[in-house]
């Protein structure tokens, strides 16, 4: 089962995604939460906390800057760049983070 949550900014996509992920995990599903926003905040709604959410984005940024190698598989990406959240949900930031662009 693959679910994508979309909509205008501020409507509650992240909150709905976080609760969906946690609820499905509690029902016994193995859940991978993918933050596809270039301004990633899903960690907060999943319950991993603001600090861990910021850290995950920093790891992703390091990856984009070439300081870390890209993971060849999804499993490996989760292993290296993801975090484990409450109810066993695993979270990964999959979109490149926006940073100031000189162009």
């Amino acid at each position: 089962m693959r679910i994508a949550v979309i909509g205008k900014g501020g409507v509650g996509k992240t909150v709905v995604s976080g609760i969906l992920a946690r609820s499905l995990a509690r029902e016994g599903w193995e859940v991978i939460a993918l933050d596809c926003d270039s301004n990633p905040n899903l960690g907060i709604s999943l319950g991993v906390g603001a600090d861990a959410t910021e850290r995950l984005a920093a790891i992703r940024q390091a990856l984009d800057a070439g300081e870390a190698e890209h993971a060849p598989t999804v499993e490996e990406m989760l292993e290296r760049f993801g975090a484990s959240g409450p109810d066993g949900v695993r979270l990964a930031v999959v979109t490149q983070i926006d940073t100031p662009n000189p162009g």
């Binding site: 501020g10 992240t14 270039s38 301004n39 603001a50 926006d98």
Partner: protein, 244 residues
């Protein structure tokens, strides 16, 4: 007069960028400035909050073209498509004499030539006595790609939520000021100012009538002119005026 005052509002989705930007435009216009309101977001926002029609105030395609230059292919504005001319011709007059120009809406997208021409207006427009106010798309993409660079005041709108604070921390390197919206206590302001090291430009209280304006899809200054929110934004407009 607010010569050369150029303002951009940035921030996470839903924090109130459009409502604040639209109300600032109207307030500055009522104080006697000629205001150019720029809707840079590709989902609905500023048009509603400033009181403009939804599908007007657009630049046509074909104002910019790809040319072969010495250093490869690049975009070039066509002859006669100067920023001042484009504003005169395509920015529509709305309430209080504000002139309104929008990048365009999705779906349907925005053609590359339109995007180039719009950015040209943002970067090059300037006229004595005019104020520019831009409402950028939610999140970090546009600001990180320089869409706020034209502005001397680049204000991040923040609401008291961890997500919006986290977004503000990411935006801080390209911004100059903070506006805290939907404030219910002094602690809300502290939570934001502690986390984001920018100078505080305005504090706007949580106001149910601003939320009602959003429900109705109308400009706060028209449907709730006496509200605490609109009055706080009037103060913000006054401070912006002093900065020019």
């Amino acid at each position: 007069m607010a010569n050369g005052l150029k303002i951009a509002f940035l921030g996470k989705g839903g924090v109130g960028k459009s409502a604040i930007a639209g109300t600032v435009c109207r307030q500055l216009a009522r104080r006697g400035h000629q205001v150019l309101a720029l809707d840079v977001d590709t989902v609905p926002g500023l048009a509603i909050s400033v009181g403009a029609p939804m599908d007007e105030g657009r630049l046509p395609s074909g104002l910019a073209e790809v040319v072969e230059g010495k250093r490869g292919r690049r975009w070039k504005m066509v002859t006669g498509a100067g920023a001042v001319h484009l504003v005169d011709r395509y920015a529509i007059p709305v309430a209080d004499g504000v002139r309104f120009l929008a990048l365009g809406k999705l779906p349907g997208g925005v053609e590359p030539s339109v995007s180039v021409a719009f950015r040209h207006v943002m970067e090059r427009f300037g006229r004595r006595g005019w104020v520019m106010v831009a409402d950028l798309a939610a999140g970090t993409r546009q600001p990180m790609f320089g869409w706020a660079g034209f502005a001397t005041v680049r204000a991040i709108v923040v609401e008291p939520s961890r997500k919006s604070v986290l977004t503000a921390r990411r935006l801080a390197p390209v911004a100059t000021h903070l506006v805290v919206n939907k404030v219910q206590s002094e602690a809300d302001v502290e939570m934001v100012t502690r986390a984001v090291p920018l100078s505080l430009l305005g504090v706007i209280p949580y106001d149910e009538s601003m939320a009602e304006a959003e429900r109705q899809g109308s400009a706060p200054i028209d449907c709730a002119p006496q509200s605490a929110g609109v009055e706080a934004i009037a103060e913000l407009a006054g401070r912006l005026e002093e900065m020019s």
